[in-house]
């Protein structure tokens, strides 16, 4: 074996050790979720396999817990936010990238600065508005509007960079053929920036899906809360059934990891575009 090969092997071992650091806690949680209380509390089996695999922990999570309901709510919030924020920001990004108006640069800067503004600064006034307009008691809507507003800056920045590189001839041809500017935008431009839309959506979903602060602040009704609150709630309710808690945490995580692995190339590429172009 030559020197280079040995070096490569050592590097792969080093990287594998680091991969272990990233994966072992998740593996440990999975084992935790399959154990009984005695197994977990028996201190010499903390790292080991379950003595008896308690698959019924998962059956309980899916059939007799609120985790699936919270999960569904998260899908509703994220889906609605993606659609609404996507449509709004696509139009604005198009205007910034393509149209000629004086304030174009200023509006873009507003969104760039907006990206740095922590959501905490708007918490209370928004609460007052949602309360006094009655939007707070409309299921889903109030919180969706807030999610959309905070998704806007990143989405505008990403979509603007995508619109800028599209050739101008396309919509010109469409307009010459008798399309209105709205028609050209809807039929020609929107389909072309679908990759940008995917990129922006990944950011929107990560912001919405992972949010805890806003849902805790604006939603009182349990049946309208999301998976992040759901997990905390689940842990509180079942504080004495440790394995079940583990199963709840795993159940809330696995769908996300599966989606990530299916789309990992796309997601990684999107994060890059967001970070570099943004």
């Amino acid at each position: 074996m030559n020197k280079r090969k040995i070096k490569t092997i050592i590097t792969v071992i080093g990287l594998s050790l680091f991969a272990l650091v990233q994966l072992f806690p998740l593996y440990w949680l999975f084992m935790f979720s399959l154990k009984s209380n005695t197994d977990i509390l028996l201190s010499d089996n903390v790292l080991g396999w379950p003595t008896v695999f308690q698959w019924e922990n998962y059956a309980t999570v899916f059939s007799r817990s609120t985790i699936p309901m919270y999960f569904l709510n998260s899908i509703i919030y994220s889906g609605a936010t993606v659609l609404l924020a996507g449509l709004l920001t696509a139009m604005t990004a198009y205007a910034i990238a393509r149209m000629k108006w004086k304030l174009s640069g200023a509006v873009f800067m507003l969104f760039v600065v907006g990206l740095m503004i922590p959501v905490h600064a708007a918490l209370l006034p928004l609460y007052q508005v949602l309360y006094s307009t009655g939007l707070r008691s409309v299921p889903y809507l109030g919180l969706i509007l807030v999610y959309v507003a905070f998704a806007i800056p990143m989405s505008v920045m990403i979509l603007t960079s995508f619109f800028k590189v599209l050739p101008r001839e396309l919509e010109e041809a469409a307009v010459i053929d008798g399309c209105s500017i709205f028609g050209a935008f809807w039929k020609i431009m929107l389909p072309l920036i679908m990759p940008g839309f995917a990129t922006a959506s990944i950011f929107t979903v990560m912001g919405t899906w992972n949010d805890l602060l806003l849902v805790q602040t604006y939603v009182d009704v349990n049946s309208l809360k999301t998976i992040t609150v759901g997990v905390l709630d689940f842990v509180g309710v079942h504080s004495r059934k440790l394995g079940l808690i583990g199963a709840g945490l795993v159940a809330a995580t696995v769908p996300v990891i599966i989606i990530y692995i299916l789309f990992s190339e796309r997601i990684q590429k999107s994060l890059l575009q967001g970070a570099i172009k943004g």
Binding site: Q22, L88, T92, A149, I181, A252
Partner: protein, 300 residues
């Protein structure tokens, strides 16, 4: 076509909805918060009847509130940890992967997995990992040869917040790695080939080519990590709770409690507005700090 693209009505139709949305939900409330912060206001009465205290709430932040100062110290721990531990570690990984290695794609995917999990769940996971009785950390120490090892990581004030910071840093290493990886990949191979001719390979090439050219990307990472640290909320709430002992507090939790539980709306608003100023100021300072190295990078 140009006429169509400068038609005022068309532009208004495309821009106004988003702009109103953003101004109404983010910017206007931001200024209302700034306005509230000047009053001794409990949120129940009309703001017009509240006592005007001017900068009083801001002075109290630094002179009359030791818990807030602790929360700022914790924020500083998060920023220092991410800038000096997380990002350098991410760079080492990214640099090694970008040079090409068997299993490159698998490593990238694995390192990134914790990033896609909600911080709330990561927080709960690490709560159990650091648990004294049933936790993984104590068990590993015992397995490594200290049979009676028992340490209460999360209730000991000396270690509690460091554990939270560890979890937060652990979770987002992959995020910075991916960004830096792309930055390194986008550096033209010509530079490295030229360097080889000049006799610079390995660590030398990294020091003289990769690092200088990567300055703008590193800046992005530093800004993201800093703003993220200032905003930290979820992982602390889920790992050690929002009402727990003061050693683990972060500003976001304190201001939330003041705004929604403590009826200290004026004071909580001052804390919130202060965070906004900190985020904007730090982003600006980081940009200034990197300005020179970015100019150098663009000269290539």
């Amino acid at each position: 076509m140009n006429k169509l693209l400068s038609n005022k009505w068309v532009i208004t139709a495309f821009v106004l909805p988003t702009l109103l949305f953003f101004l109404g939900i983010v910017i206007v409330p931001l200024f209302i918060t700034g306005y509230y912060s000047l009053f001794n206001y409990n949120g129940l009465i009309n703001i017009a009847d509240a006592e005007f205290v001017g900068a009083g709430n801001y002075i109290k932040l630094f002179t009359g509130d030791s818990v807030f100062l602790v929360s700022l110290k914790n924020t500083a721990i998060l920023i220092i940890g991410s800038v000096f531990v997380q990002i350098p570690l991410a760079f080492l990984l990214a640099n090694r992967l970008a040079k090409g290695i068997p299993g490159e794609k698998a490593f990238r995917t694995i390192f990134f997995i914790p990033v896609v999990i909600a911080a709330t769940i990561i927080g709960k996971l690490f709560y159990y990992i650091f648990s004294a009785d049933i936790g993984m950390v104590n068990a590993i120490v015992r397995a490594l040869g200290v049979p009676d090892f028992y340490f209460n990581w999360l209730t000991n004030p000396a270690t509690a917040f460091l554990c939270v910071a560890f979890a937060a840093i652990w979770q987002y290493i992959g995020y910075h790695m991916i960004i830096l990886y792309a930055g390194i990949k986008s550096i033209s191979a010509d530079y490295f080939e030229a360097a080889v001719i000049d006799g610079a390979t390995g660590a030398k090439a990294t020091r003289h080519i990769t690092i200088p050219l990567l300055a703008p990307v590193v800046k992005t990472c530093v800004v993201l990590a800093t703003v993220g640290s200032v905003k930290t909320y979820d992982i602390v709430v889920s790992m050690v709770g929002s009402g727990s002992h003061s050693g683990t507090q972060v500003p976001a939790i304190l201001l939330w409690r003041n705004l929604f539980k403590g009826r200290l709306v004026g004071y909580g608003s001052a804390q919130a507005f202060f965070l906004v100023v900190v985020c904007l100021l730090l982003s600006y300072l980081i940009a200034r700090l990197f300005k020179k190295s970015e100019e150098n990078a663009s000269q290539y």
